[in-house]
Protein backbone atom coordinates (compact mmCIF):
# COMPACT_ATOMS: atom_id res chain seq x y z
CA UNK A 1 0.00 0.00 0.00
CA UNK A 2 2.92 2.38 0.49
CA UNK A 3 3.43 3.26 -3.10
CA UNK A 4 4.04 6.91 -2.39
CA UNK A 5 6.84 7.39 -4.84
CA UNK A 6 5.00 6.77 -8.06
CA UNK A 7 7.09 8.31 -10.76
CA UNK A 8 6.05 11.30 -12.79
CA UNK A 9 5.20 10.41 -16.35
CA UNK A 10 8.17 11.49 -18.41
CA UNK A 11 5.96 12.10 -21.44
CA UNK A 12 4.12 14.97 -19.80
CA UNK A 13 5.77 18.21 -20.73
CA UNK A 14 6.25 20.76 -18.02
CA UNK A 15 3.72 23.48 -18.75
CA UNK A 16 4.97 27.02 -18.43
CA UNK A 17 3.53 29.38 -15.83
CA UNK A 18 2.46 31.75 -18.59
CA UNK A 19 0.54 29.09 -20.44
CA UNK A 20 -1.11 28.02 -17.20
CA UNK A 21 -2.08 31.61 -16.43
CA UNK A 22 -3.57 31.97 -19.89
CA UNK A 23 -5.71 28.88 -19.69
CA UNK A 24 -8.62 30.39 -17.86
CA UNK A 25 -12.15 31.18 -18.93
CA UNK A 26 -11.66 34.93 -18.62
CA UNK A 27 -8.74 35.10 -21.07
CA UNK A 28 -10.76 36.28 -24.06
CA UNK A 29 -12.64 38.84 -21.99
CA UNK A 30 -9.44 40.26 -20.46
CA UNK A 31 -7.81 40.63 -23.87
CA UNK A 32 -11.01 42.12 -25.25
CA UNK A 33 -11.32 44.62 -22.41
CA UNK A 34 -7.74 45.83 -22.85
CA UNK A 35 -8.19 46.08 -26.62
CA UNK A 36 -11.45 47.98 -26.38
CA UNK A 37 -10.09 50.49 -23.87
CA UNK A 38 -6.92 51.00 -25.90
CA UNK A 39 -9.00 51.56 -29.02
CA UNK A 40 -11.24 54.20 -27.49
CA UNK A 41 -8.45 55.97 -25.62
CA UNK A 42 -6.74 56.43 -29.00
CA UNK A 43 -9.80 57.29 -31.09
CA UNK A 44 -12.09 58.96 -28.57
CA UNK A 45 -9.69 60.03 -25.84
CA UNK A 46 -10.49 63.72 -26.22
CA UNK A 47 -14.23 63.33 -26.78
CA UNK A 48 -15.18 63.44 -23.12
CA UNK A 49 -15.57 59.67 -22.89
CA UNK A 50 -13.04 59.47 -20.08
CA UNK A 51 -14.04 62.46 -17.96
CA UNK A 52 -16.29 61.97 -14.92
CA UNK A 53 -19.56 62.20 -16.86
CA UNK A 54 -18.32 60.00 -19.67
CA UNK A 55 -17.11 57.31 -17.30
CA UNK A 56 -20.41 57.38 -15.45
CA UNK A 57 -22.20 57.09 -18.77
CA UNK A 58 -20.57 53.89 -19.98
CA UNK A 59 -20.32 52.46 -16.47
CA UNK A 60 -24.07 52.71 -16.10
CA UNK A 61 -24.70 51.02 -19.43
CA UNK A 62 -22.15 48.32 -18.61
CA UNK A 63 -23.75 47.79 -15.21
CA UNK A 64 -27.10 47.12 -16.90
CA UNK A 65 -25.53 44.45 -19.07
CA UNK A 66 -23.69 43.07 -16.05
CA UNK A 67 -26.80 42.53 -13.94
CA UNK A 68 -28.46 40.28 -16.51
CA UNK A 69 -25.15 38.69 -17.56
CA UNK A 70 -24.50 37.45 -14.01
CA UNK A 71 -27.79 35.56 -13.98
CA UNK A 72 -27.31 34.22 -17.50
CA UNK A 73 -23.76 33.15 -16.62
CA UNK A 74 -24.72 31.11 -13.57
CA UNK A 75 -27.56 29.51 -15.49
CA UNK A 76 -25.37 28.71 -18.50
CA UNK A 77 -22.74 27.09 -16.28
CA UNK A 78 -25.56 25.01 -14.78
CA UNK A 79 -26.23 23.86 -18.34
CA UNK A 80 -29.34 25.83 -19.26
CA UNK A 81 -30.41 28.97 -21.13
CA UNK A 82 -33.04 31.55 -20.42
CA UNK A 83 -34.35 33.27 -23.52
CA UNK A 84 -37.16 34.90 -21.58
CA UNK A 85 -34.88 37.40 -19.79
CA UNK A 86 -35.74 40.31 -22.10
CA UNK A 87 -39.48 39.67 -21.89
CA UNK A 88 -39.14 39.23 -18.14
CA UNK A 89 -37.62 42.73 -17.92
CA UNK A 90 -40.57 44.24 -19.78
CA UNK A 91 -43.03 42.16 -17.76
CA UNK A 92 -41.51 43.07 -14.39
CA UNK A 93 -41.44 46.78 -15.24
CA UNK A 94 -45.06 46.68 -16.34
CA UNK A 95 -46.04 44.76 -13.23
CA UNK A 96 -44.49 47.43 -11.00
CA UNK A 97 -46.23 50.18 -12.99
CA UNK A 98 -49.65 48.54 -12.90
CA UNK A 99 -49.53 47.72 -9.20
CA UNK A 100 -48.18 51.11 -8.13
CA UNK A 101 -49.75 53.55 -10.60
CA UNK A 102 -52.96 51.89 -11.78
CA UNK A 103 -53.86 50.17 -8.52
CA UNK A 104 -52.30 52.96 -6.47
CA UNK A 105 -50.58 50.62 -4.01
CA UNK A 106 -47.33 51.75 -2.35
CA UNK A 107 -44.37 51.19 -4.64
CA UNK A 108 -42.56 48.97 -2.17
CA UNK A 109 -45.49 46.57 -2.28
CA UNK A 110 -45.34 46.69 -6.07
CA UNK A 111 -41.61 45.95 -6.08
CA UNK A 112 -41.84 43.07 -3.62
CA UNK A 113 -44.86 41.50 -5.35
CA UNK A 114 -43.13 41.81 -8.71
CA UNK A 115 -39.99 40.14 -7.41
CA UNK A 116 -42.08 37.31 -5.98
CA UNK A 117 -43.98 36.93 -9.24
CA UNK A 118 -40.86 36.96 -11.43
CA UNK A 119 -38.97 34.50 -9.25
CA UNK A 120 -42.03 32.22 -9.32
CA UNK A 121 -42.07 32.41 -13.13
CA UNK A 122 -38.35 31.62 -13.12
CA UNK A 123 -39.07 28.59 -10.94
CA UNK A 124 -41.84 27.53 -13.32
CA UNK A 125 -39.39 27.77 -16.24
CA UNK A 126 -36.97 25.59 -14.31
CA UNK A 127 -39.55 23.04 -13.18
CA UNK A 128 -40.85 22.59 -16.73
CA UNK A 129 -37.31 22.13 -18.08
CA UNK A 130 -36.34 19.66 -15.37
CA UNK A 131 -39.58 17.65 -15.37
CA UNK A 132 -40.08 17.36 -19.11
CA UNK A 133 -36.43 17.07 -20.04
CA UNK A 134 -37.06 19.47 -22.92
CA UNK A 135 -34.24 21.80 -23.95
CA UNK A 136 -34.43 25.04 -21.97
CA UNK A 137 -34.02 26.81 -25.30
CA UNK A 138 -37.57 25.78 -26.29
CA UNK A 139 -39.23 26.18 -22.91
CA UNK A 140 -37.88 29.68 -22.34
CA UNK A 141 -38.57 30.64 -25.96
CA UNK A 142 -42.21 29.93 -25.17
CA UNK A 143 -41.98 32.21 -22.15
CA UNK A 144 -40.30 34.88 -24.27
CA UNK A 145 -43.57 35.13 -26.20
CA UNK A 146 -45.95 34.49 -23.32
CA UNK A 147 -44.47 37.19 -21.10
CA UNK A 148 -44.07 39.72 -23.90
CA UNK A 149 -47.65 39.11 -24.93
CA UNK A 150 -48.93 39.79 -21.42
CA UNK A 151 -46.69 42.84 -21.14
CA UNK A 152 -48.44 44.36 -24.15
CA UNK A 153 -51.92 43.03 -23.37
CA UNK A 154 -52.42 44.13 -19.77
CA UNK A 155 -51.58 47.85 -20.06
CA UNK A 156 -53.75 48.07 -23.18
CA UNK A 157 -56.61 46.36 -21.42
CA UNK A 158 -56.36 48.49 -18.30
CA UNK A 159 -55.00 51.84 -19.45
CA UNK A 160 -55.50 51.67 -23.24
CA UNK A 161 -51.83 52.39 -23.89
CA UNK A 162 -48.49 50.54 -23.81
CA UNK A 163 -46.50 52.95 -21.69
CA UNK A 164 -47.42 53.67 -18.10
CA UNK A 165 -45.81 56.73 -16.52
CA UNK A 166 -46.08 58.34 -13.11
CA UNK A 167 -43.76 55.93 -11.36
CA UNK A 168 -41.45 58.74 -10.19
CA UNK A 169 -44.36 60.32 -8.33
CA UNK A 170 -45.33 56.97 -6.86
CA UNK A 171 -41.74 56.39 -5.73
CA UNK A 172 -41.56 59.76 -3.97
CA UNK A 173 -40.68 59.27 -0.30
CA UNK A 174 -40.78 55.48 -0.56
CA UNK A 175 -38.34 53.50 1.58
CA UNK A 176 -37.56 50.73 -0.91
CA UNK A 177 -37.39 52.61 -4.21
CA UNK A 178 -34.07 54.41 -3.45
CA UNK A 179 -32.44 50.99 -3.15
CA UNK A 180 -32.94 50.68 -6.93
CA UNK A 181 -33.16 54.25 -8.18
CA UNK A 182 -31.02 56.17 -5.69
CA UNK A 183 -27.45 57.33 -5.83
CA UNK A 184 -24.69 56.95 -3.30
CA UNK A 185 -21.53 58.89 -2.53
CA UNK A 186 -23.02 62.33 -3.24
CA UNK A 187 -20.88 63.96 -0.55
CA UNK A 188 -17.75 62.38 -1.99
CA UNK A 189 -18.45 63.86 -5.42
CA UNK A 190 -19.16 67.31 -3.96
CA UNK A 191 -15.80 67.04 -2.24
CA UNK A 192 -14.13 66.02 -5.52
CA UNK A 193 -15.87 68.94 -7.23
CA UNK A 194 -14.63 71.37 -4.58
CA UNK A 195 -11.13 70.02 -5.02
CA UNK A 196 -11.41 70.59 -8.74
CA UNK A 197 -10.84 66.93 -9.59
CA UNK A 198 -14.12 66.76 -11.45
CA UNK A 199 -15.97 69.56 -13.15
CA UNK A 200 -18.78 71.52 -11.55
CA UNK A 201 -21.76 73.13 -13.26
CA UNK A 202 -20.85 76.73 -14.01
CA UNK A 203 -24.40 78.05 -14.38
CA UNK A 204 -28.05 77.16 -14.06
CA UNK A 205 -29.89 76.08 -10.95
CA UNK A 206 -27.19 73.58 -10.03
CA UNK A 207 -24.25 75.96 -10.43
CA UNK A 208 -21.38 74.97 -8.18
CA UNK A 209 -22.53 71.36 -7.86
CA UNK A 210 -20.39 68.59 -9.36
CA UNK A 211 -21.48 67.25 -12.77
CA UNK A 212 -21.66 63.78 -11.28
CA UNK A 213 -23.81 63.75 -8.17
CA UNK A 214 -23.37 60.15 -7.08
CA UNK A 215 -22.99 56.56 -8.19
CA UNK A 216 -26.32 55.09 -9.29
CA UNK A 217 -27.54 52.12 -7.26
CA UNK A 218 -27.65 50.23 -10.55
CA UNK A 219 -23.83 50.11 -10.52
CA UNK A 220 -23.76 49.03 -6.87
CA UNK A 221 -26.21 46.22 -7.67
CA UNK A 222 -24.09 45.11 -10.62
CA UNK A 223 -20.85 45.01 -8.64
CA UNK A 224 -22.55 43.39 -5.66
CA UNK A 225 -24.16 40.66 -7.77
CA UNK A 226 -20.89 39.96 -9.59
CA UNK A 227 -18.97 39.67 -6.32
CA UNK A 228 -21.53 37.45 -4.60
CA UNK A 229 -22.09 35.21 -7.62
CA UNK A 230 -18.34 34.84 -8.15
CA UNK A 231 -17.75 33.79 -4.54
CA UNK A 232 -20.68 31.37 -4.55
CA UNK A 233 -19.54 29.80 -7.80
CA UNK A 234 -15.86 29.36 -7.00
CA UNK A 235 -15.76 29.02 -3.23
CA UNK A 236 -18.81 27.13 -2.06
CA UNK A 237 -20.29 23.67 -2.19
CA UNK A 238 -23.28 25.00 -4.07
CA UNK A 239 -20.93 26.47 -6.68
CA UNK A 240 -19.41 23.05 -7.22
CA UNK A 241 -22.90 21.66 -7.76
CA UNK A 242 -23.61 24.35 -10.35
CA UNK A 243 -20.52 23.28 -12.32
CA UNK A 244 -21.42 19.62 -11.85
CA UNK A 245 -25.05 20.07 -12.96
CA UNK A 246 -23.88 21.70 -16.18
CA UNK A 247 -20.81 19.51 -16.71
CA UNK A 248 -22.61 16.19 -16.68
CA UNK A 249 -25.98 16.02 -14.96
CA UNK A 250 -26.03 12.20 -14.87
CA UNK A 251 -22.57 11.89 -13.31
CA UNK A 252 -23.54 14.52 -10.76
CA UNK A 253 -26.75 12.65 -9.87
CA UNK A 254 -24.79 9.43 -9.34
CA UNK A 255 -22.81 11.07 -6.55
CA UNK A 256 -25.83 12.65 -4.94
CA UNK A 257 -25.82 16.21 -6.29
CA UNK A 258 -29.42 17.53 -6.33
CA UNK A 259 -29.14 18.53 -9.98
CA UNK A 260 -32.81 19.42 -10.54
CA UNK A 261 -32.94 21.68 -7.52
CA UNK A 262 -29.74 23.46 -8.55
CA UNK A 263 -31.07 24.10 -12.05
CA UNK A 264 -34.42 25.40 -10.83
CA UNK A 265 -32.65 27.72 -8.39
CA UNK A 266 -30.49 29.07 -11.20
CA UNK A 267 -33.61 29.83 -13.26
CA UNK A 268 -34.97 31.69 -10.23
CA UNK A 269 -31.73 33.62 -9.86
CA UNK A 270 -31.82 34.64 -13.53
CA UNK A 271 -35.37 35.89 -13.05
CA UNK A 272 -34.24 37.78 -9.95
CA UNK A 273 -31.48 39.51 -11.95
CA UNK A 274 -33.94 40.46 -14.71
CA UNK A 275 -36.22 41.88 -12.05
CA UNK A 276 -33.40 43.97 -10.51
CA UNK A 277 -32.67 45.36 -13.97
CA UNK A 278 -36.34 46.17 -14.58
CA UNK A 279 -36.85 47.81 -11.19
CA UNK A 280 -33.80 50.05 -11.58
CA UNK A 281 -34.96 50.96 -15.07
CA UNK A 282 -38.57 51.88 -14.29
CA UNK A 283 -37.55 53.96 -11.29
CA UNK A 284 -34.89 55.76 -13.30
CA UNK A 285 -37.17 56.41 -16.30
CA UNK A 286 -40.31 56.95 -14.24
CA UNK A 287 -42.28 54.81 -16.66
CA UNK A 288 -42.72 51.24 -17.88
CA UNK A 289 -43.00 50.41 -21.58
CA UNK A 290 -44.20 47.24 -23.23
CA UNK A 291 -41.11 47.07 -25.43
CA UNK A 292 -38.54 47.30 -22.66
CA UNK A 293 -35.84 44.66 -22.52
CA UNK A 294 -36.16 43.64 -26.17
CA UNK A 295 -33.23 41.41 -27.24
CA UNK A 296 -31.66 41.64 -23.77
CA UNK A 297 -31.58 37.84 -23.47
CA UNK A 298 -29.23 37.63 -26.43
CA UNK A 299 -27.03 40.45 -25.21
CA UNK A 300 -26.74 38.71 -21.85
CA UNK A 301 -25.84 35.42 -23.51
CA UNK A 302 -23.25 37.11 -25.74
CA UNK A 303 -21.64 38.84 -22.75
CA UNK A 304 -21.46 35.49 -20.97
CA UNK A 305 -19.93 33.73 -23.97
CA UNK A 306 -17.36 36.52 -24.44
CA UNK A 307 -16.64 35.95 -20.76
CA UNK A 308 -15.52 32.42 -21.57
CA UNK A 309 -18.51 30.29 -20.60
CA UNK A 310 -19.25 27.27 -22.76
CA UNK A 311 -22.69 27.18 -24.35
CA UNK A 312 -22.84 23.52 -23.40
CA UNK A 313 -22.47 24.29 -19.69
CA UNK A 314 -20.12 23.24 -16.93
CA UNK A 315 -17.50 25.86 -17.56
CA UNK A 316 -17.36 29.62 -17.23
CA UNK A 317 -16.70 32.57 -15.03
CA UNK A 318 -18.80 35.35 -13.54
CA UNK A 319 -15.85 37.74 -13.68
CA UNK A 320 -15.50 36.92 -17.36
CA UNK A 321 -19.18 37.61 -17.95
CA UNK A 322 -18.83 40.93 -16.11
CA UNK A 323 -15.92 41.87 -18.36
CA UNK A 324 -17.99 40.83 -21.35
CA UNK A 325 -20.69 43.23 -20.15
CA UNK A 326 -18.08 45.96 -19.67
CA UNK A 327 -16.86 45.47 -23.25
CA UNK A 328 -20.46 45.87 -24.39
CA UNK A 329 -21.08 49.04 -22.45
CA UNK A 330 -17.81 50.65 -23.45
CA UNK A 331 -18.24 49.86 -27.13
CA UNK A 332 -21.89 50.84 -27.31
CA UNK A 333 -21.26 54.23 -25.70
CA UNK A 334 -17.77 54.60 -27.16
CA UNK A 335 -19.06 54.44 -30.74
CA UNK A 336 -21.34 57.32 -29.82
CA UNK A 337 -18.46 59.33 -28.34
CA UNK A 338 -16.24 58.55 -31.30
CA UNK A 339 -19.00 59.75 -33.62
CA UNK A 340 -19.42 56.42 -35.37
CA UNK A 341 -22.78 55.30 -36.72
CA UNK A 342 -24.36 53.39 -33.82
CA UNK A 343 -25.83 50.64 -35.99
CA UNK A 344 -22.27 49.37 -36.36
CA UNK A 345 -22.60 48.23 -32.76
CA UNK A 346 -24.64 45.26 -34.01
CA UNK A 347 -21.87 44.39 -36.45
CA UNK A 348 -19.37 44.54 -33.64
CA UNK A 349 -21.56 42.24 -31.50
CA UNK A 350 -21.71 39.61 -34.17
CA UNK A 351 -18.00 39.71 -34.92
CA UNK A 352 -16.85 39.59 -31.32
CA UNK A 353 -19.29 36.75 -30.59
CA UNK A 354 -17.72 34.67 -33.33
CA UNK A 355 -14.21 35.37 -32.10
CA UNK A 356 -15.16 34.57 -28.52
CA UNK A 357 -16.70 31.23 -29.40
CA UNK A 358 -13.69 30.21 -31.49
CA UNK A 359 -11.29 31.16 -28.71
CA UNK A 360 -13.39 29.32 -26.11
CA UNK A 361 -13.44 26.14 -28.15
CA UNK A 362 -9.66 26.30 -28.38
CA UNK A 363 -9.25 26.84 -24.64
CA UNK A 364 -11.60 24.00 -23.82
CA UNK A 365 -9.58 21.68 -26.00
CA UNK A 366 -6.45 22.55 -24.08
CA UNK A 367 -8.14 22.08 -20.73
CA UNK A 368 -9.64 18.72 -21.47
CA UNK A 369 -6.56 17.58 -23.33
CA UNK A 370 -8.57 16.73 -26.45
CA UNK A 371 -6.49 16.68 -29.57
Amino acid sequence: MSNTDATVDERIKETSKLRKALIRPELGAIVGTVAVFAFFIIFAGDSGMFNAQGVLNWSTVSAQFMIIAVGACMLMIAGEFDLSVGSMIGFAGMSIAIISVTLGWPIWVAILLTFALCIAIGALNGIIVVRTGLPSFIVTLAFLFILRGFTIFFPQLIERRTIIGGISEAAEGDWLAPLFGGKVGGGFFIWLGDLGVIEVFSRGTRAGQPVVDGIPMLIIWALGLVAIAHIILTRTQFGNWVFAAGGDAQAARYVGVPVDRVKIQMFMFTAFCACVFATCQVIEFGSAGADRGLLKEFEAIIAVVIGGALLTGGYGSVIGAALGALIFGVVQQGLFFAGVESSLFRVFLGVILLFAVILNTYIRRIITGER
Binding site: M1, Y254, V255, I367
Partner: protein
Amino acid sequence: MTTEPIIEMRNIEKHFGPVIALNGVSFDIRPGECHCLLGDNGAGKSTFIKTMAGVHKPTGGEILFGGQAMHFDSPRDAMEAGIATVYQDLAMIPLMSVTRNFWMGREPVRKVGPFKFLDFKTANDVTMSEMRKMGINLRSPQQAVGTLSGGERQTVAIARAVHFGAKVLILDEPTSALGVRQTANVLSTIDRVRKTGIGIVFITHNVRHAMAVGDRFTVLNRGKTLGTAARGEITPEALQDLMAGGQEMAALEGSLGGTV
Protein backbone atom coordinates in the same frame (compact mmCIF):
# COMPACT_ATOMS: atom_id res chain seq x y z
CA MET B 1 -12.86 -18.34 2.96
CA THR B 2 -14.84 -18.56 6.15
CA THR B 3 -15.80 -14.91 6.52
CA GLU B 4 -19.46 -13.95 6.32
CA PRO B 5 -20.57 -12.34 3.08
CA ILE B 6 -21.18 -8.57 3.15
CA ILE B 7 -23.99 -8.90 0.66
CA GLU B 8 -25.84 -11.98 -0.36
CA MET B 9 -28.22 -11.91 -3.28
CA ARG B 10 -30.53 -14.95 -3.40
CA ASN B 11 -32.53 -15.99 -6.46
CA ILE B 12 -32.87 -12.46 -7.74
CA GLU B 13 -35.50 -12.07 -10.43
CA LYS B 14 -36.17 -8.95 -12.41
CA HIS B 15 -38.88 -8.59 -15.02
CA PHE B 16 -39.34 -5.61 -17.29
CA GLY B 17 -42.89 -6.06 -18.47
CA PRO B 18 -42.91 -9.30 -20.48
CA VAL B 19 -39.11 -9.50 -20.57
CA ILE B 20 -37.45 -11.63 -17.93
CA ALA B 21 -34.06 -10.00 -17.52
CA LEU B 22 -32.99 -11.95 -14.46
CA ASN B 23 -34.39 -15.35 -13.75
CA GLY B 24 -32.92 -16.42 -10.42
CA VAL B 25 -29.43 -15.11 -9.92
CA SER B 26 -27.53 -15.87 -6.72
CA PHE B 27 -24.35 -14.08 -5.83
CA ASP B 28 -22.45 -13.07 -2.73
CA ILE B 29 -19.46 -10.96 -1.93
CA ARG B 30 -17.11 -11.29 1.04
CA PRO B 31 -14.72 -8.75 2.53
CA GLY B 32 -11.37 -8.58 0.79
CA GLU B 33 -12.25 -10.68 -2.21
CA CYS B 34 -12.60 -9.87 -5.85
CA HIS B 35 -15.63 -11.65 -7.18
CA CYS B 36 -15.80 -11.53 -10.96
CA LEU B 37 -19.16 -11.44 -12.67
CA LEU B 38 -18.78 -12.68 -16.21
CA GLY B 39 -21.21 -12.90 -19.03
CA ASP B 40 -21.62 -12.04 -22.65
CA ASN B 41 -23.54 -8.99 -23.82
CA GLY B 42 -27.19 -9.28 -22.85
CA ALA B 43 -26.54 -11.86 -20.16
CA GLY B 44 -28.05 -9.55 -17.51
CA LYS B 45 -24.86 -8.31 -15.85
CA SER B 46 -25.87 -4.66 -15.94
CA THR B 47 -29.40 -5.33 -14.72
CA PHE B 48 -28.02 -7.42 -11.92
CA ILE B 49 -25.52 -4.88 -10.61
CA LYS B 50 -28.10 -2.13 -10.91
CA THR B 51 -30.30 -4.20 -8.66
CA MET B 52 -27.44 -4.48 -6.21
CA ALA B 53 -26.75 -0.73 -6.44
CA GLY B 54 -30.37 0.18 -5.71
CA VAL B 55 -31.22 1.44 -9.18
CA HIS B 56 -33.71 -1.38 -9.86
CA LYS B 57 -35.96 -3.11 -7.35
CA PRO B 58 -35.93 -6.86 -7.79
CA THR B 59 -39.18 -8.54 -8.83
CA GLY B 60 -38.32 -11.54 -6.71
CA GLY B 61 -35.61 -12.90 -4.44
CA GLU B 62 -33.85 -11.54 -1.38
CA ILE B 63 -30.98 -9.19 -0.71
CA LEU B 64 -29.16 -9.80 2.58
CA PHE B 65 -26.80 -7.10 3.79
CA GLY B 66 -24.66 -8.18 6.72
CA GLY B 67 -27.09 -11.07 7.28
CA GLN B 68 -30.16 -8.78 7.40
CA ALA B 69 -32.81 -8.50 4.70
CA MET B 70 -32.44 -5.19 2.95
CA HIS B 71 -34.50 -3.07 0.56
CA PHE B 72 -32.81 -0.26 -1.28
CA ASP B 73 -35.24 2.37 -2.47
CA SER B 74 -32.65 4.43 -4.31
CA PRO B 75 -28.97 4.42 -5.30
CA ARG B 76 -28.52 6.87 -2.43
CA ASP B 77 -29.66 4.20 0.09
CA ALA B 78 -27.24 1.67 -1.33
CA MET B 79 -24.43 4.21 -1.27
CA GLU B 80 -25.13 5.01 2.33
CA ALA B 81 -25.04 1.34 3.23
CA GLY B 82 -21.56 1.23 1.67
CA ILE B 83 -22.19 -0.05 -1.84
CA ALA B 84 -20.35 2.15 -4.30
CA THR B 85 -20.63 1.73 -8.04
CA VAL B 86 -18.06 2.96 -10.53
CA TYR B 87 -19.68 3.20 -13.92
CA GLN B 88 -17.58 2.91 -16.99
CA ASP B 89 -18.06 6.35 -18.52
CA LEU B 90 -20.45 8.29 -16.37
CA ALA B 91 -18.35 8.80 -13.30
CA MET B 92 -16.36 11.95 -13.98
CA ILE B 93 -16.87 15.44 -15.36
CA PRO B 94 -13.97 16.19 -17.74
CA LEU B 95 -14.09 19.99 -17.47
CA MET B 96 -13.82 20.00 -13.69
CA SER B 97 -10.66 19.57 -11.67
CA VAL B 98 -9.71 16.28 -10.07
CA THR B 99 -10.40 17.74 -6.63
CA ARG B 100 -13.84 19.05 -7.59
CA ASN B 101 -14.71 15.67 -9.08
CA PHE B 102 -13.33 13.72 -6.15
CA TRP B 103 -15.46 15.62 -3.63
CA MET B 104 -18.49 16.19 -5.83
CA GLY B 105 -21.63 15.88 -3.72
CA ARG B 106 -19.67 15.62 -0.46
CA GLU B 107 -17.55 18.76 -0.47
CA PRO B 108 -15.66 19.59 2.72
CA VAL B 109 -16.65 23.00 4.08
CA ARG B 110 -15.04 25.48 6.40
CA LYS B 111 -17.14 27.93 8.35
CA VAL B 112 -16.30 31.62 8.23
CA GLY B 113 -18.81 33.39 10.42
CA PRO B 114 -22.27 32.40 9.19
CA PHE B 115 -20.95 31.40 5.76
CA LYS B 116 -19.66 28.04 4.63
CA PHE B 117 -16.88 27.95 2.09
CA LEU B 118 -15.22 25.05 0.33
CA ASP B 119 -12.14 23.92 2.18
CA PHE B 120 -9.83 23.65 -0.81
CA LYS B 121 -6.72 22.97 1.23
CA THR B 122 -8.13 19.85 2.87
CA ALA B 123 -9.81 18.80 -0.36
CA ASN B 124 -6.62 19.12 -2.41
CA ASP B 125 -4.42 17.44 0.20
CA VAL B 126 -6.72 14.46 0.64
CA THR B 127 -7.17 14.07 -3.11
CA MET B 128 -3.41 14.07 -3.70
CA SER B 129 -2.72 11.56 -0.93
CA GLU B 130 -5.57 9.22 -1.92
CA MET B 131 -4.36 9.26 -5.50
CA ARG B 132 -0.80 8.57 -4.39
CA LYS B 133 -2.05 5.56 -2.44
CA MET B 134 -3.47 4.28 -5.73
CA GLY B 135 -0.12 4.81 -7.38
CA ILE B 136 -0.94 7.91 -9.38
CA ASN B 137 1.05 11.07 -8.95
CA LEU B 138 -1.02 14.00 -10.09
CA ARG B 139 0.68 17.06 -11.50
CA SER B 140 -1.81 19.16 -9.63
CA PRO B 141 -5.14 18.43 -7.97
CA GLN B 142 -6.50 21.35 -9.98
CA GLN B 143 -5.84 19.72 -13.31
CA ALA B 144 -8.99 18.93 -15.22
CA VAL B 145 -10.13 15.31 -15.27
CA GLY B 146 -10.25 15.64 -19.05
CA THR B 147 -6.44 15.61 -19.10
CA LEU B 148 -6.29 12.20 -17.39
CA SER B 149 -6.19 8.92 -19.25
CA GLY B 150 -9.11 6.50 -19.10
CA GLY B 151 -7.34 4.32 -16.54
CA GLU B 152 -6.52 7.29 -14.35
CA ARG B 153 -10.14 8.39 -14.45
CA GLN B 154 -11.25 4.96 -13.28
CA THR B 155 -8.69 5.22 -10.52
CA VAL B 156 -10.00 8.60 -9.37
CA ALA B 157 -13.48 7.11 -9.22
CA ILE B 158 -12.23 4.07 -7.29
CA ALA B 159 -10.17 6.22 -4.90
CA ARG B 160 -13.23 8.36 -4.30
CA ALA B 161 -15.40 5.35 -3.47
CA VAL B 162 -12.75 3.93 -1.15
CA HIS B 163 -12.22 7.26 0.61
CA PHE B 164 -15.93 7.62 1.31
CA GLY B 165 -16.07 4.29 3.09
CA ALA B 166 -17.30 1.81 0.51
CA LYS B 167 -17.59 -1.76 1.84
CA VAL B 168 -18.48 -3.16 -1.53
CA LEU B 169 -17.16 -1.68 -4.73
CA ILE B 170 -18.94 -2.52 -7.96
CA LEU B 171 -16.81 -1.94 -11.04
CA ASP B 172 -18.79 -1.98 -14.26
CA GLU B 173 -16.48 -3.11 -17.05
CA PRO B 174 -13.63 -0.87 -15.85
CA THR B 175 -11.18 -2.28 -18.38
CA SER B 176 -13.28 -2.61 -21.50
CA ALA B 177 -12.22 0.70 -23.04
CA LEU B 178 -8.60 0.64 -21.91
CA GLY B 179 -5.28 -0.21 -23.47
CA VAL B 180 -2.98 -2.94 -22.17
CA ARG B 181 -0.91 -0.76 -19.87
CA GLN B 182 -3.88 1.07 -18.41
CA THR B 183 -5.73 -2.18 -17.89
CA ALA B 184 -2.78 -3.46 -15.87
CA ASN B 185 -2.90 -0.29 -13.78
CA VAL B 186 -6.60 -0.69 -13.04
CA LEU B 187 -6.15 -4.38 -12.21
CA SER B 188 -3.37 -3.54 -9.77
CA THR B 189 -5.60 -0.87 -8.23
CA ILE B 190 -8.24 -3.55 -7.74
CA ASP B 191 -5.66 -5.69 -6.01
CA ARG B 192 -4.67 -2.81 -3.70
CA VAL B 193 -8.25 -2.04 -2.77
CA ARG B 194 -9.03 -5.69 -2.11
CA LYS B 195 -6.19 -5.87 0.38
CA THR B 196 -7.85 -3.15 2.47
CA GLY B 197 -10.75 -5.50 3.12
CA ILE B 198 -13.22 -4.10 0.64
CA GLY B 199 -15.26 -6.57 -1.37
CA ILE B 200 -15.03 -5.99 -5.10
CA VAL B 201 -17.54 -6.98 -7.74
CA PHE B 202 -15.69 -6.92 -11.02
CA ILE B 203 -17.89 -7.03 -14.09
CA THR B 204 -16.18 -7.97 -17.31
CA HIS B 205 -16.51 -10.10 -20.39
CA ASN B 206 -12.78 -10.52 -20.69
CA VAL B 207 -11.71 -13.81 -19.16
CA ARG B 208 -8.03 -12.89 -18.99
CA HIS B 209 -8.74 -9.73 -17.00
CA ALA B 210 -10.94 -11.73 -14.67
CA MET B 211 -8.33 -14.47 -14.18
CA ALA B 212 -5.68 -11.86 -13.37
CA VAL B 213 -7.32 -10.64 -10.18
CA GLY B 214 -10.40 -12.74 -9.45
CA ASP B 215 -10.83 -14.89 -6.33
CA ARG B 216 -14.16 -16.29 -7.45
CA PHE B 217 -15.96 -16.30 -10.76
CA THR B 218 -19.67 -16.31 -11.43
CA VAL B 219 -20.96 -16.68 -14.94
CA LEU B 220 -24.28 -15.28 -16.05
CA ASN B 221 -26.04 -16.45 -19.15
CA ARG B 222 -29.52 -15.51 -20.31
CA GLY B 223 -30.47 -14.13 -16.91
CA LYS B 224 -29.35 -17.14 -14.91
CA THR B 225 -26.25 -18.03 -12.91
CA LEU B 226 -24.48 -20.92 -14.53
CA GLY B 227 -22.40 -21.42 -11.40
CA THR B 228 -19.66 -20.02 -9.22
CA ALA B 229 -16.11 -21.31 -9.11
CA ALA B 230 -13.17 -20.39 -6.91
CA ARG B 231 -9.75 -19.54 -8.24
CA GLY B 232 -7.88 -22.68 -9.36
CA GLU B 233 -11.08 -24.68 -9.78
CA ILE B 234 -11.64 -23.60 -13.33
CA THR B 235 -9.56 -22.94 -16.43
CA PRO B 236 -9.86 -19.84 -18.58
CA GLU B 237 -11.07 -22.02 -21.44
CA ALA B 238 -13.84 -23.49 -19.35
CA LEU B 239 -14.92 -20.00 -18.29
CA GLN B 240 -14.91 -18.80 -21.87
CA ASP B 241 -17.05 -21.77 -22.88
CA LEU B 242 -19.53 -21.14 -20.10
CA MET B 243 -19.89 -17.52 -21.10
CA ALA B 244 -20.41 -18.05 -24.79
CA GLY B 245 -22.15 -21.38 -24.78
CA GLY B 246 -19.43 -23.91 -25.69
CA GLN B 247 -19.88 -25.72 -28.99
CA GLU B 248 -20.45 -22.77 -31.25
CA MET B 249 -17.45 -20.91 -29.87
CA ALA B 250 -15.22 -23.92 -30.34
CA ALA B 251 -16.20 -24.07 -33.98
CA LEU B 252 -15.62 -20.33 -34.41
CA GLU B 253 -12.25 -20.47 -32.71
CA GLY B 254 -11.25 -23.37 -34.92
CA SER B 255 -11.99 -21.33 -38.01
CA LEU B 256 -10.13 -18.31 -36.58
CA GLY B 257 -7.14 -20.37 -35.53
CA GLY B 258 -6.84 -19.45 -31.85
CA THR B 259 -8.52 -18.51 -28.58
CA VAL B 260 -10.59 -15.33 -28.72
